[in-house]
Amino acid sequence: MISPTSKWRMYLALTCLSAFNVQADPLMSDAEWLRTMVFAAHQTNFSGVVVYQSGGRVEMSRITHVADGDGEHERMEGLEGERREVIRNNDKVRVYLGDQKVRVENRRSHRVFPSLLPEQMQALKENYLITQSEEDRVAEYHAHTVVFQPKDNLRYTRKMWAHSESGLLLKAVVLDEHGRIIEQQAFSQIKIGGKDIDRKWIKPSEDDALHLARHLEQASHSGAESVVSGWQIDAIPVGFKKLFELRRSISDKKIPVVQMVYSDGLSGISIFIEKVSQAPTKAGLSGQGAVHVYNRRVGDYLVTVVGEVPPRVVIQVADSVRYAGG
């Protein structure tokens, strides 16, 4: 188990290594664009308003991201309705919803790693036809477009607009196999770089800091560890490779949950298995935009499959989960 601090150091080391190609090069290879975009998402300082649309749902959020000596800080703030705010400081996430009290969660801080592993880049090229498309403008910035067209119908097509200089994702569209838009998001306004980006939110209020400290004391007994759980997925779709199998604590669930993570280089599928005494309150299929969730009861366990894949894929995966002993 690598500590979050050493993970952060690893990330910094990788970041420094990549400093040579921070400036996105239009002649970069197609798959390299994704790598650059991931780096830009973690190391660029920016603040802007994102408009998200999926079906009849449209939302505006302010997204701010700061990378400094203490690591990475990001914030999503809903601009309409009740308070809806998520703040991440490295592996600590604070969630504020409506008038609910702040919720604190521990998050693994290696979000950056899976998509950068060479085998993931290989998977990306195997599963998608990657092409660079027209130059464009998004939120007054020059953007380079990259299209990830799947070679089968087990995953969605993605078109991404990356800031030509930094590689930061400015706009993204997800399309289904018929070319229909599943969801899209774009910055309507964004400020990239500069010192005057608001950082007041990074430090939690005194109340929140106390809450955070109490929570972390409890959480230090849990965490996540790699396991061989004995659970078997028989119908993982072609092109998805297993990244992790973990036993971890999630939010306020008392019993640790098994999480298996698969990726095709761009989209991910997670399988969660938890012991339950009652039937789930929300059973079956649900979804928002490109993300789908499917629940299924297997004996005393609840299997939940989450992924940015078509609905039938999460169902197929969930239906093939069985306990093979171990």
Binding site: I63, G78, L79, E80, V86, R111, S286, P311
Partner: protein, 163 residues
Amino acid sequence: MKEKISVLMDGEMFEDDAELFFDKLKRHPQTSQDWAMYHLIGDALRQPEHIHRDVSAAFHERLQAEPTILAPQSRAPQRMKHYALSAAASLMALALVAWMSLQIDKEPAPQLAAAQQSDNVVRPASFQSNDYQSNDYLMAHQEFSPSADVQGAASYIHSVEAK
């Protein structure tokens, strides 16, 4: 006053100021109109299928009518700058939604299309709840998903659902 509306809608006004503002709102018809206009933006954002193409033209006119803040006043330069940005950002967002709805016009709306599909296509229920809630599993999943990695904090839009 318009700047105040914008600040309030951005959730950046202090509570006391907001109460004063609401008092004013009740007394001044012009302010109420502005308030309604800004909320029209919000409503339009929530219901893209009802946005007409000429909406952005109408708002372009309103934008022309907006006083241009060329130089921030010396007393509170940062705030003034922010106000101006806020109003402009709202209008740019509206233009963007108009663009997005144009994209959808070209194709049947996804949910309609799904309903017309044959029986082997499953139509998921959207994440609905009676209150705000974050989906722990979605968040836990997004820690590892490459596409969520590229999207950064914007991927929380999925896991922290609105009403």
